[in-house]
């Protein structure tokens, strides 16, 4: 089945549209990643309406390529300007900038691009193998367990997305409630529409997502003017140096760091909510611990850059794996990609590889191709990317506003949708000010209809008895994981408090 999916995907991917989508996706992703005020999720959210007008496989290739490219793009300003382009490149600053100051900016950029590429590729190969298997077995679970899996996704994201787990969970509930707006799918009674007939089919997903994630971020962005960013050095590449640095990263003296960090990033990426920002620092710390010369970390060595970049890029495929195979997004960007393909009629989640082998195959091949395209494009556009980093926040926000309004209008030719987008932007901003990341509401909104459908179906199957949610082996295991997820932040906080008490006494 895996080979069939890949072969079908390969034949589909070779169409000019898909090749172009992978190329443009990588290019835009690197640019979005390089802009310090712009994140991968903002880029995907802004382009969501545009992707809606493309065929579903092309749209999936475009959005996932943006995600792959953005992870590497974040390292360019981190290395050259001491400013990470994305939160996932925060630790890259430590050794990357130090290398640039020593006049080794070219090596830092090449090892960053090469480690990012190989990490995405290895992660991509891993999901090529595990994705269809996971999706196949997940398709055999009952509606009650699907409900518990979606509940788990919301709880875990609610816990991990913010500092305050209760606020995170409340954000998730707000999203779930937004998902209940409109006619319910059992008897068709309209809920929370307050007489607005346009809401009968529910809150439109594209405007809500663009508002909650992209525009709410712009509300914050316009209030802080960006500082003057200056590149520490001009970067000039020689083909020989590129080849030797790439070889060293993938097969040569740094291979251990590359693959260890790829593994760490992959594991962290698979856990919903733990994104590239966490993987970046954990992998850097592990590389330092395993090094024979830990004291050299921070002084500007390629191993430091490789550890961070391999880890943040291997997060991408592994965050997309649960999103597509189980319907639980591993990160905010994965949540947006999930929503994007859902709107186009694809039903991600259990059994998706059997239902749509052509789309999933194209996505997998596209992901593998994007891994290597980013190496090529990433080295070619270092100069222009540095220039773009100097764009002021206000200009960027102005362009995003126009793009968001036009893009959202173009989906259904409706100004009502644009109004929904602005309302959701205010809601997202309000959540942020309150200390709750809007991504929790986004995940709630996406998973809401799935959760309700599986909840109601399970209840009708059991004749109204709630036992179906508890007294089944898989359900019991899932409840165990859910309870652990609820208690995990509390246990972590207690442990931290104990450590700080011990260190104070010491």
């Amino acid at each position: 089945m895996i080979l069939d999916t890949l072969l079908i995907g390969f034949s589909h991917f070779l169409s000019p549209y898909n090749l172009l989508a992978a190329f443009i996706g990588c290019l835009l992703g690197i640019i979005f990643g390089a802009l310090p005020a712009f994140t991968a999720s903002m880029g995907v959210a802004t382009l969501l309406p545009f992707a809606y007008s493309l065929p579903v496989d092309t749209s999936l290739v475009l959005l996932s390529s943006i995600y792959v490219g953005a992870m590497y793009g974040g390292s360019i300003p981190a290395i050259l300007m001491h400013t990470p382009g994305t939160p996932g490149a925060a630790a890259t600053v430590i050794d990357g900038y130090a290398m640039a100051k020593k006049g080794q900016a070219d090596t830092a950029i090449v090892v960053s691009a090469a480690s990012s590429s190989i990490a995405s590729f290895v992660g991509g190969v891993f999901i090529c193998i595990t994705g269809p298997i996971l999706s196949f077995y997940a398709a055999r679970i009952s509606p009650a367990e699907i409900f518990l899996v979606t509940l788990l996704g919301i709880i875990v994201l609610g816990n991990l997305a913010g500092k305050d787990s209760i606020k995170g969970l409340l954000g998730g509930i707000i999203g779930l409630l937004l998902g209940t707006v409109g006619a319910d799918f059992v008897v068709g009674h309209d809920r929370f529409t307050f007489g607005i007939y346009q809401l009968y089919e529910g809150i439109p997903l594209v405007p809500a997502l663009v508002g909650l994630l992209a525009l709410s971020e712009c509300f914050t962005m316009v209030q802080k003017e960006s500082g003057e960013l200056v590149a520490v050095s001009e970067v000039r590449f020689s083909l020989r140096k590129i080849l030797s640095d790439t070889w060293d990263t993938i097969f040569g003296k740094y291979w251990k760091d590359t693959y260890l960090s790829t593994f760490i990033g992959g594991v962290i990426g698979f856990i919903p909510g733990e994104g590239a920002a966490v993987a970046n620092f954990v992998a850097y710390d592990q590389a330092k611990r395993h090094s024979r010369n830990p004291e050299r970390f921070g002084t500007g060595i390629p191993e430091g850059v490789i550890a961070c970049e391999a880890a943040n890029n291997s997060v991408v495929p592994l965050a997309l794996l649960p999103a597509l195979a189980l319907g639980i997004p591993g990160s905010s960007t994965a949540a947006l990609i999930l929503a994007g393909v859902m709107m186009q009629g694809l039903r991600p989640g259990p059994g998706v590889f059997e239902r749509s082998p052509d789309v999933m195959g194209t996505f997998l091949v596209g992901l593998l191709a994007a891994s290597w395209l980013q190496l090529l494009i990433g080295l070619l556009i270092v100069g222009p990317a540095c220039k773009l980093c100097q764009i002021k926040n206000s200009i960027l926000a102005g362009v995003i506003l126009v793009l968001a309004v036009i893009g959202v209008y173009a989906v259904h030719y409706s100004f009502f949708d644009v109004g929904i987008m602005l309302a959701c932007a205010l809601l997202g901003y309000g959540l942020k000010v309150w200390g709750c990341p809007p991504v929790t509401a986004v995940v709630g909104l996406i998973l809401g209809p799935i959760a309700e459908k599986s909840f109601t179906t399970a209840l009708s199957v059991s004749g109204g008895s709630a036992d179906i949610f508890f007294f089944r082996p898989v359900a019991a295991i899932l409840w165990g994981i859910i309870l652990f997820s609820i208690l995990f932040p509390w246990l972590r906080r207690k442990r931290k408090e104990m450590h700080s008490k011990i260190s104070q006494e010491g």
């Binding site: 969970l169 409340l170 008897v187 506003l401």
Partner: protein, 140 residues
């Protein structure tokens, strides 16, 4: 909590099967909000004098610019049916960037460049019919 209460009252006359799931969510919302309030009161009594909350820490220094930005978005929607999407994009970018203190030369080049790029992508490349408006219909 007030929001959850409002929604609970709104869902009062819904059929049982339609109301079950949202009411379950609202109940969870009530419980979590209650826990949050208790925690907040406890932490307030602990750290008297420290009046910054996590939310306030994220409040940025110039909220006026946020309202300008939101206002521009609303104005853009109001202008588009009459001016058409090219002219309204141009006008809104000029107004917004000028209010944000961007130099006139940069403002004009960004406004013209963005409007042109949007026209090429959405109308020429994707073939999406965008609002032409009264003014644009007379001009083009």
């Amino acid at each position: 909590m007030a929001f959850a209460l409002f929604l609970t009252i709104s869902s009062w006359d819904y059929p049982f099967i339609s109301a079950l799931y949202p009411r379950m969510l609202l109940a969870c919302g009530f419980v979590l909000s209650g826990i949050k309030v208790v925690f907040m009161l406890r932490s307030k009594s602990k750290d008297k004098g420290v009046d910054r909350t996590a939310g306030e820490a994220e409040t940025s220094p110039n909220p006026k610019r946020m309202w300008i930005y939101l206002g521009s978005g609303i104005l853009y929607i109001l202008l588009m049916p009459d001016l058409g999407f090219i002219l309204s994009s141009l006008v809104i970018l000029i107004i917004l960037l000028t209010l944000f203190g961007i130099k006139l030369k940069t403002t004009l080049s960004v406004a013209v460049g963005t409007s042109l790029a949007l026209y090429l992508i959405f109308v020429i490349f994707l073939g999406i019919p965008m609002p032409k408006g009264v003014v644009e219909s007379l001009l083009f």
